[in-house]
Amino acid sequence: MNTTNNGLATNNMVSNMMRWQLSATAVAAILALLLSGMHAFFSVIAGGVSVIVGAYIASRILARNEGDVEPSSVLINLLKAEAVKIVVIAVLLFAVFKMYAALVPFALIAGLAAAAIFSGAALAKTDKSI
C-alpha cells in the first residue's frame, strides 16, 4: 500500500464542522437570550461548548495518528476519538448540572442538540468553508 494520508481533507472538514457548531450555538444562544433571559443564554452556551470541546479533543486525537494508512488502525483511531468525545461531553454536562445552580435545563438541551446535529452539516460543505 503506497498511499499517504496527509490529513488535509480531514483538517478542513473538522474546522468546517466546528464553524457550523459555533454558528448553531450562537444562533440558539441569541434566541434563548431574547426569549428567556441571561441564564438561558449561558445554559445554551454551556450545552454547545460541551459538544464543541468534545469534538475538538476528538479531532486532536484523530490528528495525532494522521500517517496511518491501514484501514484497521484508522478505524481504531476513529473509534478511540469518538469514545473520548462521548466521555468528555458526559463529564462536562455532569459538571454543568452540578455547578450551575441557575441552569435552564431545556436551554442547555437546545444548545447541546443544535451543536450535535449541526456537526453533520459540514459533510455538505467538504470543499468550501462557510
Binding site: N6, A9, V51, P71, V74, L79, I86, A113
Partner: protein, 91 residues
C-alpha cells in the same frame, strides 16, 4: 404521606425512563456505528487510495450518529439532576 408516595413513584419511573433513554440510545448508536464501520472497511479494502478521503467523512458521520445518543444523555441528566416532573408534588 400521599405526597411522599407520589414523589417515590415519580422518582422510580424517572429512573426507569433514564435507563431506557440511555440504553436504547446506546443500542441505536452502536448498530449505526457498526454498519458504518463495516462499510468503511469494505470501501477501504476495495480502494485503499480512498482511505484519507473517507476518514474525515467517517469522523463526521460518527458524530452525527452519536448526536442522538448525546442528546439522550443530556435529557437523562436533566431528568436525574433537575427533574421537571417533581414540580407536580411541590404544588
Amino acid at each position: 404521606m400521599e405526597n411522599l408516595q407520589l414523589l417515590a413513584m415519580i422518582q422510580a419511573y424517572t429512573g426507569v425512563g433514564i435507563g431506557l433513554i440511555i440504553g436504547l440510545g446506546a443500542l441505536g448508536a452502536c448498530v449505526g456505528i457498526g454498519i458504518m464501520c463495516a462499510s468503511f472497511l469494505e470501501g477501504a479494502a476495495r480502494q485503499p487510495e480512498m482511505i484519507p478521503a473517507l476518514q474525515g467523512k467517517v469522523f463526521l458521520l460518527l458524530g452525527l450518529i452519536d448526536a442522538s445518543f448525546i442528546i439522550g444523555v443530556g435529557l437523562a441528566m436533566m431528568f436525574a439532576f433537575a427533574n421537571p416532573l417533581l414540580s407536580v408534588v411541590a404544588q
